[in-house]
Amino acid sequence: MSCAPTRNPFTHTESAAVGVSIEGLSKSFGKFQVLKNISFSVQPGEIFVLMGPSGSGKSVLLKHIVGLELPTSGRVTVDGKDASSEATREQVRMALVFQSGALFNSLSVYDNLALYPREHQVGDEASIREKVMRALQILSLEGTANKAPSELSGGMKKRVAIARGLVMEPQLMLYDEPTSELDPVMSATIAEIIATLKDEYHVTSIVVSHDRELALGIADRVGILMGGELVSLGTPAELRAPKDPRVAEFLYPKIDLKNPRFKKLET
């Protein structure tokens, strides 16, 4: 068997990871304010993990970065360009791995991955095939090319969604809860995949997650969002001994059977 190195079909990789800047971002849905004056920036090639309780506005923030939501006030820029502009999506390759995977159910796994290069006419069918099969190989999904998304397990769907993003050769990769509903081993695998993609392809990654192990294990920096406000921003080392009691409670909650939280809430 030949051991010749495989040519990397992802030609644009290591070319241009992009930075993200969020300045005074606020978002309201009717009278309900979801995001309150959020400001931070993500450097090119960085893994930035955004954590926070359910309903704190993490996914809404992610949608602002890809331009799926428009800010009520403030500004989001990707590589210095307005994230809400359609032109930015044309100039910057961004991939969002949705929590549900958001795979196209009417297409096979192969066609899900091939859709972007086909629509944007990135190479001929042979080179598209090479890219798709390579992405499936990286994510250990070789046997799934002809399967329908409905035939896949939750973990496989997440990996297919990551592979679909990878085929886009993104400069910015966003992950919405990539390890939710997965067993611990699969969660660790996904975390390893995210870190490997950053190391090998120099992609800027923004990960929204509840997964403390993932954040502390692979992040360059971690932001914590609570009630629509960014209450903490620091390195994983800083988060191992958080000073803010709310952050400490969120990251290291103790199970107290004598004085349960729900009873405190009742009173």
């Binding site: 949608k63 890809v66 331009g67 799926l68 999506r89 044309e90 961004m94 991939a95 969002l96 949705f98 549900s100 958001a102 795979l103 196209f104 159910n105 859709l115 972007y116 629509e119 944007h120 886009m168």
Partner: protein, 250 residues
């Protein structure tokens, strides 16, 4: 007030969707596989039900006309009555109603579920406009297939009327006489008017159903609501447009 705003928003987003889809027309040749698939779904799969319904509409029309026209000795004109009614009104309207029920509901359900399950968002983040890949092929397909459906509805309806006219004892008109009267009183303009109507109805139905599907928010319950809304709005639209198009073509 909120309802009026919602209706105006719906109209606005539908018009916007039309212009967006139209702006991608040059990409249609590259999307020919999707276009052909939509032609199959809109045309071929709707054909049997259109044929069956039109046959019985033509039959009932002949039966009712025979019953009333026999009273004053005008039953030999049944052919013209069935022919004109089918070509100018019932053919296009019934084809459109079936299109709304069968194709419009399916389009709304598919696009609404794609929206709810974030497939539309995925397309947008991949810089693949939904108006280009989901709406344009459907609009182009309905423009091609709707006249075909209307012509088949006309032909089958005429044929149904001819059979009933021959085999109903109280009418007993031979097909030669039936079709001879039908030809004598009908002009090409009558058929053309029907085809224009069908084209307008079909285009409006597909556009509205796409718009409703793509603007769905919420969960599975909203998908069901979107389908219901798409069919109801389509049916109202058919009847409203019918009046205005008929008036314009007179």
């Amino acid at each position: 007030m909120n309802q009026i705003t919602a209706i105006l928003e719906g109209i606005g987003s539908t018009i916007q969707l039309l212009f967006r889809a139209a702006s991608y027309t040059p990409s249609l040749w590259r999307q020919r596989a999707r276009f052909i698939e939509q032609c199959y779904l809109i045309g071929y799969t709707t054909l049997p039900i259109v044929a069956i319904l039109s046959f019985f509409i033509g039959s009932v029309l002949a039966l009712q006309a025979g019953y009333s026209m026999s009273n004053f000795g005008a039953k030999q004109f049944i052919g013209s009555l069935v022919g004109l009614s089918m070509a100018r009104e019932l053919g296009p309207v019934m084809a459109a109603i079936l299109l709304a029920g069968r194709v419009g509901s399916a389009i709304a359900a598919e696009l609404a579920s794609m929206k709810v399950y974030q497939e539309i968002d995925a397309l947008v983040t991949m810089n693949i406009p939904p108006a280009k890949v989901l709406v344009l092929p459907r609009l182009a397909a309905v423009l091609v297939m709707m006249p075909v459906l209307a012509i088949i509805a006309d032909l089958v309806g005429w044929f149904g009327g001819a059979i009933v006219s021959k085999y109903t004892a109280s009418i007993a008109i031979e097909p030669e006489a039936y079709f001879s009267v039908l030809r004598r009183f009908m002009e090409f303009k009558d058929v053309l008017n029907g085809l224009i109507k069908a084209e307008v109805f079909g285009f409006a139905i597909v556009l509205v159903c796409c718009s409703i599907g793509l603007n769905t928010r919420g969960g599975p319950r909203e998908i069901g609501a979107a389908v219901t809304k798409a069919v109801v709005v389509s049916l109202i639209l058919i009847l409203v447009l019918d009046y205005f198009v008929t008036k314009a073509l007179m």
